[in-house]
């Protein structure tokens, strides 16, 4: 009845998520227009984007990666986050049974379109607790200028 013994019905959100994924598959997710760079639900890594008045903050949920090997580039208003996740190799000789393999391994790449006022020169990133935090400063809005009306006489 349930696809896996590991997931029990108490988890309402997983059920709604699974149902939404099924609907996406059936309807082809053409019901709502999505960004042209949108990825499939549940791709690794998940990304949250928010903005404050002076910056765009991006949170990439990528546990267990080597931050030194993440490629973070900004080009023509597009922020690209690319990297790879590798699990430590277990010794092949040991007799191991695998019961669950839900964690994603391999290369990943996310592309995010930054808003017009994002300043590509001022990008800051750090990695802590498995979350890559990227902060892109926004250019200050030009203060309204007063234009003097000349006397044309």
């Amino acid at each position: 009845m349930y696809p896996s013994l590991l997931n029990f019905p108490g988890d309402l959100f997983a059920e709604v998520d699974a149902l939404q994924r099924q609907m996406d598959r059936l309807l082809g997710s053409r019901g709502s227009t999505s960004s042209i760079r949108a990825v499939e639900r549940g791709s690794f890594p998940a990304v949250n984007i928010g903005s404050t008045q002076d910056a765009i903050e991006i949170y990439v949920f990528a546990p267990g990666i080597d931050p030194g090997r993440v490629e973070l580039t900004v080009d023509k208003g597009l922020l690209t986050i690319a990297g790879e996740r590798q699990f430590p190799r277990a010794d092949a000789g040991a007799k191991t049974s695998v019961y669950a393999r839900e964690r994603v391994e391999g290369t990943f790449r996310r592309v995010i379109a930054l808003p017009e006022d994002a300043d590509a020169e001022r990008v800051d990133a750090n990695y802590r607790d498995g979350v890559l935090r990227i902060r892109v400063q926004r250019r200050e809005a030009l203060r309204p200028r007063r234009i003097e009306v000349r006397d044309a006489a």
């Binding site: 309402l12 984007i49 546990p63």
Partner: protein, 127 residues
């Protein structure tokens, strides 16, 4: 017997808790025990809770991103505020000797088997 959906509704009405995300796990077993690795990005060691209650192991951790107070969400794929997942342990696992390590959002749990549960060769006597 209550149907599963009825059960969920009753349970939900009794204890409204903040939304939880089920973290992805990898589980393998070898001769000496079970190794479980879980993806918990945003979880910190001091806020992570690992509880063994009878034969149920519950893993719970709030997601702490440290966002700016004035942050306005633009695009959110991870909405939930915490991770939550439970497992039923089997009797041959020694729940008093669980080893847990958290690094870069990856939790590695080692559940050793009880001494007497390790695979043993059984000598076949000549009758």
């Amino acid at each position: 017997m209550t149907t599963p959906s009825q059960d969920i509704v009753e349970r939900d009405a009794a204890a409204p808790e903040p939304a939880a995300l089920t973290p992805t796990v990898n589980i393998t077993e070898d001769d000496n025990g079970i190794t479980l690795t879980a993806d918990l990005p945003g979880a910190t060691r001091d806020a992570l809770s690992l509880r063994v209650d009878g034969d149920t192991l519950t893993l719970e951790a709030p997601i702490q991103l440290g966002e700016s107070a004035t942050l306005e969400p633009l695009y959110v794929e991870r909405r939930a505020g915490r991770y939550l997942r439970s497992f039923t342990l089997s009797r041959e696992l020694d729940s008093t000797r669980i080893d847990a390590a958290l690094k870069d959002g990856v939790l590695t749990l080692r559940l050793p088997k009880l001494e007497q549960a390790r695979p043993r060769r059984i000598e076949v006597r000549a009758a």
